[in-house]
Amino acid sequence: MNKRTQQREQTRIEILTAAEHIYAVHGFIRPSTQMVAKEAGVAHGTVFLHFQSQEKLILAVIENLGQSLTSQIHESSVPGHSLNEVLQTYLTAIEANESLYTHLIMELPQLPKEAQQTVIGIQSVIAHHLDQVMSQLKKEKKIKDLSFPFLFNTWIGLIHYYLMNRRLFAPHGSVLAVYKDQLIANFITLLEVDCT
């Protein structure tokens, strides 16, 4: 890589990082590209040199988020993980990007369809790991015999509900920092077959 391409790549990363910060605070829809340029310390035109349009910039940030979440989930998933550990891995990854992820799911209807597809991609990775541990537990008759999509959507719906209503549950900070452990524990209790 020569010096000029290196410089160019560096500026691209700075704009992306600035956009991530802005979107994490204000959401994807409201902020202008001018705000992003200011945060990155570059001229307004430079943003378009690298990303052509506001939509492309938004999608680049979302794609980055998707990649970082899926690689975190994949990397910390080891074979033989318990159900608790798989759920923990998922929530830890989300928690590290909580505000950006929350804005993403809340603004999905207004965002380009690629944003929705990225969310389905993130969900597919967690579904893959959950499917492996849950089908084993089902075989051993340790969890209730409910359909996988029902269990999966119940879990995602629960998490998204807490994230989207953060102001009601944790007005001063991260909702997952406060509720992560009890959501996991209660969800597992809900699934467990009563052995008594």
């Binding site: 994949h74 597809q117 389905i120 893959h128 999966f152 959507n153």
Partner: protein, 82 residues
């Protein structure tokens, strides 16, 4: 650690590889019964089926999403991206 070029899954154990062949750069889920790599159409069909089976999505939505995910992976990246 290698990552499957066709679906992105990390491959840690011998068991993750097709027929235990660790020289391959795709995983057992992306292989046919004989160990060769699935074609684009086969991968699209199996990923669509996986999304429907695990997330319960509409078949058309699932297929569109699978095509989008696959387009981001090294094995299937279109020329426009580089």
């Amino acid at each position: 650690m290698k990552q499957c070029i066709a679906c992105g899954m990390p491959m840690r154990k011998v068991d993750d590889y097709p027929l235990g062949d660790t020289t391959k750069n795709y995983c057992k889920y992306c292989a046919r019964a004989n160990g060769s790599m699935q074609s684009y159409d086969e991968k699209l069909a199996s990923m669509t089926e996986f999304i429907i089976r695990t997330q319960g999505l509409d078949a058309h939505v699932a297929q569109k999403s699978a095509a989008f995910m696959i387009s981001k992976l090294p094995a299937w990246k279109r020329g426009s991206d580089d």
